[in-house]
């Protein structure tokens, strides 16, 4: 690779190098600077130097406010009797003070709402004409079968049940009663 030993770094390029080093450059600038840095030693050194500083700065973090100061202010500002009831506040502050937790809570809630909407949504059937025709045929066949069995039951009831099981014994019993009545009549005469 033909690397340049030195080149003039313009103000614009320097600004981009700084942004890349601190991690807030656009993707386009990032690619551009990385490409130039891979070919130019001076740019690479500058980028690395700024990156080191950026890392040092990023590791600093916030200072912790002295707890005794907070305690002092809390007792001064908030009435003492209300200090004890902290559970609800602590719970809410855990949820709202940390972006990850609040984001996760929101995602879970949204997912739950969407799931419930999907589950409770009325099912919409979309059948083709062929399917409807087949279904009609099957329904017709099923109704025919039912009709046939009703007819069979009707004829069985008329012929076997009423004819043999009801009408015959009934006639027989009527005949017996008739004979008995006629016999009684003859005896009287």
């Amino acid at each position: 690779m033909n690397r340049k030993k030195s080149s003039e770094i313009t103000e614009e390029l320097l600004n981009k190098i700084i942004s890349v080093a601190y991690g807030d450059a656009s993707l386009n600038d990032k690619i551009k600077v990385m490409y130039i840095a891979s070919r130019n030693e001076e740019v690479r050194d500058l980028l690395n130097s700024y990156k080191r500083t950026a890392n040092e700065v990023k590791q600093l973090g916030e200072e912790e406010a002295p707890p005794e100061l907070l305690k002092k202010i809390e007792h001064r500002n908030v009435p003492a009797k209300t200090i004890r009831n902290k559970f609800v506040f602590d719970f809410l502050s855990i949820i709202f003070s940390r972006p990850i937790i609040s984001a996760a809570t929101s995602v879970i809630l949204i997912a739950a709402v969407i799931t419930s909407l999907i589950i409770n949504k009325p099912v919409q059937y979309n059948y083709s004409t062929a399917e409807i025709t087949v279904a009609e045929k099957q329904a017709k066949y099923a109704l025919e079968l039912v009709g046939k069995y009703f007819n069979e039951t009707h004829s069985t009831l008329q012929k076997k049940v009423f004819g043999n099981a009801v009408a015959k014994p009934f006639n027989h019993s009527i005949g017996i009663v008739n004979n008995l009545l006629e016999g009684d009549k003859n005896e009287k005469n």
């Binding site: 320097l14 600004n15 700084i18 601190y22 130097s49 700024y50 080191r52 500083t53 040092e56 700065v57 990023k58 590791q59 600093l60 973090g61 916030e62 200072e63 912790e64 406010a65 002295p66 100061l69 907070l70 002092k72 202010i73 809390e74 001064r76 500002n77 908030v78 009435p79 209300t82 902290k86 609800v88 506040f89 809410l92 502050s93 709202f96 003070s97």
Partner: protein
Amino acid sequence: MLEEQRYRFLIQQYKNKIYTYSMYMLKNKMDADDVTQEVMIRIWQNIDKFNLLAAKTWIIKTTNNLCIDYLRKRSVSVNRESEIDELFEDTYSANSNNDNPYLTTHFRMMASKVKEAIQRLPENLRSVFVLYEIEGLKYKEISAALELPLNSVKVYLLRARKKLQEELKEYEPQEVI
């Protein structure tokens, strides 16, 4: 009851931001304590006047104004600036290697040098730099809190980064292991 919960929520959320900003701006622990205390009192006094979403800007703006007041007062009084090592608690996370005393010392030294360099930045650059790099505010939030145009915020940040780099130049090559 609701006011108290709002207050607690805000304090929980911003106590370290207020304190950190005051420390970097005032370079003095006592003054930083005073400003932090004053901001918290003002939060309590104005708790029903702002909503939680707009609170961040209000709090940073109030902190910045108080810091400026303190700096003005101080410029006419005795210079009470003390050494940086005495001011800051050791918040530097030397996560690279805690077992290696040499590395730990090196990281602590570097952190101290970086803090010193940040404090040497001019006031306007320092405020933008601390808010963006250390407190993680966005350009828009800084612009609203410091009442600066958005472009000025970007320019100040860039200048601060360049200046910081210059300040730290002398430590760079020798300190790297």
